[in-house]
Symmetry: C2
Subunit: 485 residues, 2 copies
């Protein structure tokens, strides 16, 4: 047996015996090397072996942590939203969440900005610098309404990965995925119309529909297979639905990946009832499996799918470079784009086009996928360690958000208020619903570097959840207890 | 008498005698210097004197031109649009015009992009470069929903010139003036509502209203004093108008400047009928008079004015940095901004904020104002020289568009088609109207460097106008003429 195997076995035994507990930090490489009289690289090899065995997890710049031994919490069961058209409200709460991302004192697990600290993003800066140096006049004039042609060519190339064979002319560049979704919705529906969505659904989508006076009908959604097609069909039979908005890959907020067979069935259903499908693929490139699953758009035979995406989750949101592949709705989408922002900023389009053309995109996205998957392992462990056992959690297949479901009586709105006093922001579930459901749920983001401060924040949230649940239990005990006092 | 005075008098005499005709190029400085045996600077001084006397006009990199002696064409009389709510269409023609700006072979006098070739714009490149060098992470994350605070502070400072005392918090940054107008309209009106506009009106405004299914009622407008308040009042009495969109300064397309007394009266009227005013001030800084006139917003006592503007005409459209000062509609505007693009691109906001903070803005705008005023002198001369005498033209007080009115039977749509065959694009009048009026008018832009190619284009347009008018005259002559042949 080699030295590192020996050391690994010894550490595994100690973890087994509970000498190092789940979530606890292990001794540093240097300490172990001195303690056991072995080289640094032997300790590193031993830790690597334990990582392979999924006993520990590395945390960049912080060391190695023991993975939780507690049983994994169950997956929540299929959601049960109100299945009739409702109007969207809740703008106040969303505004508060959006504003929180500006405050440097706030520790936000509620947002969904990606990690911007990685070195693989640096060539993007070089591109911006180059545009400044070369003083390309092209970066100052009005853009082609559909967006910079070289960028659209690069996007077409990238989209081959999701099974799409596109030309630059099939793509319209937008100001982020928000504008992509907004123009797509305006291309297929009028105020007063009904659009179906998964439930829960990203609050930004709800707000877009709210801003356009479009009614929403929420479809029950499964945590592993996505949208219930059966429920959708019932709704389509009953209501004059114009379109469905779906996030079939690395769903935000539930993290599921819609299976291929169900995607095909969804397209058939859309044809039968003649509805448009708006496919939000903004997290699609961050699927943990490789190659990434094929988009709905790739199997769209009659142009009824409008694929919306952006570089906001894969590169950086401040670039505001998004796009739509509008299929048969191209003319309408161009018109709506013209009336919404005219054209898009050029220098970020130029920078992104060059970043991709020079081959920097694939290694960056590969790194981010791995990073988020590792962050998920850590966050799951912390949630298991610090939250009570009565919770259910999602199993994200990509992206960087985790959905946590508490018992039905739980009040996540109150929890969020409490946490805000400690400068910790989380997103409570009812933001993701037009009919006020999911008040007992939380969405936690794990895109940021998983520092000890984040662990402390998760611990604080977990403790507050525990306290509220215990208080609830006391609260529903027979009133006799009070009288006896 | 000095040498240069002598030379100037001689040249003036020759112009007077018709030896040099209006619009003709004068001999080069070098030629005159050799011919008359005087120094280069003497000739330059002589030319400067003639320029002061408004006898000649300099054309950068092309020499000096004789100003037309032909009488100035009259100003068109007040417009007479259809005064009932109409739906907006015409998207196809606008798309064609917008797409033309992309083709390098096309000589476009139909667009409204500013001159981007001036050296005073160069510090903007330096700023972009600096952002790339410093790798400011702030440029990549999600922006504050209302926009970058330092930029809003600079905008507030600039707006003192238009009489506004604002804080950063009063301002919402947008993706160009298009998004500013779009969110402002969505903040004050719903689909199906009626909004009043000047007539003619910038086609982008019409398309925004079309995209939002808002009906338009067009108000008669005078070429020197703007919107007819009398006509507006009649309309407000008769129809449930929600808002007025007005371009009171350096109006696009008519070029007028609304007098102060009329602006006050307009605000009183808006209060009496409780309508919102959307003030499009995008050309306001390009007023030829200095200081620029006070905005409507500056006299707005109850927050009913939403001022919309951008740096697209003063700096560069590709930056897509615009803003709204929404008054009492701040909350609605923020909500609509969130649902339209989420937030705005950061690197161009950072670059513009620094450009202004470092004092580069006032000298740049000063130069552009002078440049456009000089361009206007040249274009007016060319129009006088090459167009038939039966036209009327506007008297722009700022900005860079000229309105030309031909006799009523003229067909500018046909003219545009003809010119397109020569790769010359102009904007025909009916684009600026929801009810199909102004088909006998043209809008010519004079923002581009006034090269000999532009002169040739104006000559070609003028000749085509002349041909069509002559053909029309023949056409309405008694049919006998034909029989005689």
């Amino acid at each position: 047996m080699t030295r590192y195997q020996h050391l690994a076995d010894l550490l595994a035994q100690r973890i087994e015996q509970g000498l190092y507990r789940g979530g606890e930090r292990l001794p540093s490489v240097r300490t172990l090397s001195q303690e056991h009289g072995v080289s640094i690289s032997t300790v590193q090899q031993a830790y690597y072996r334990l990582e392979q065995q999924q006993l520990i997890v590395p945390l960049p710049r912080s060391g190695y942590f023991v993975r939780a031994r507690k049983a994994e919490p169950p997956i929540p069961s299929m959601t049960r939203p109100v299945q009739r058209p409702v109007e969207v409200k809740k703008w106040g709460a969303v505004l508060e969440l959006v504003s929180a991302r500006q405050d440097p004192d706030v520790l936000s697990l509620g947002g969904s900005s990606p990690d911007l600290t990685q070195s693989t993003l640096k060539p993007l800066w070089k591109q911006l610098q180059r545009i400044g140096q070369k003083q390309q006049e092209a970066a100052l004039s009005y853009d082609n309404l559909a967006g910079l042609v070289p960028l659209r060519e690069q996007i077409a190339r990238l989209m081959v990965d999701s099974g799409c064979q596109l030309q630059a002319d099939d793509i319209v560049v937008t100001t982020g995925c928000t504008e992509a979704l907004s123009v797509a919705v305006r291309a297929v529906a009028q105020p007063g119309d009904i659009i179906a969505v998964e439930s829960p659904v990203f609050h930004g989508i709800l707000q877009i529909l709210c801003g356009l006076n479009i009614k929403v009908i929420e479809i029950p959604t499964d945590f592993t297979t996505g949208l219930s097609l059966e429920a959708l069909e019932l709704v389509l039979e009953q209501w004059p639905v114009k379109a469905l908005i779906t996030v079939p890959h690395c769903n935000n907020p539930l993290g599921f990946m819609m299976p291929s067979a169900r995607k095909r069935a969804l397209l058939t259903l859309a044809q039968r009832y003649d509805i448009a499908i708006i496919e939000d693929d903004v997290y699609g490139e961050l699927a943990y499996e490789y190659p990434r699953p094929a988009s709905l758009k790739s199997a769209d035979r009659d142009g009824r799918v409008l694929l919306c995406s952006s570089f906001s989750k894969t590169l950086a949101p401040g670039l505001r470079v998004g796009w739509v592949v509008p299929g048969r709705y191209l003319d309408r989408v161009l018109h709506m784009k013209y009336t919404s922002t005219g054209s898009s900023v050029l220098c970020t389009q130029l920078a992104v086009a060059e970043f991709i053309a020079q081959g920097y995109y694939p290694p960056h996205v590969r790194r981010m996928r791995m990073l988020y998957q590792r962050n998920l392992a850590l966050l799951s462990d912390w949630v298991r360690r610090y939250f009570p056992e009565t919770i259910c959690v999602s199993r994200p297949q990509g992206g960087f958000v985790l959905w946590v479901e508490m018992p039905p009586a739980f009040d996540a709105v109150a929890l969020c208020q409490q946490m805000k006093a400690h400068n910790i922001y989380v997103a409570e579930g009812s933001l993701f619903c037009a009919s006020g459901k999911y008040r007992h749920c939380l969405r936690l983001s794990y895109s940021m570097p998983m520092t000890p401060a984040i662990e402390q924040a998760v611990a604080a949230i977990g403790a507050a959840v525990e306290r509220q649940i215990s208080a609830n239990v006391e609260h529903i005990e027979p009133a006799g207890g009070e009288v006896k006092r």
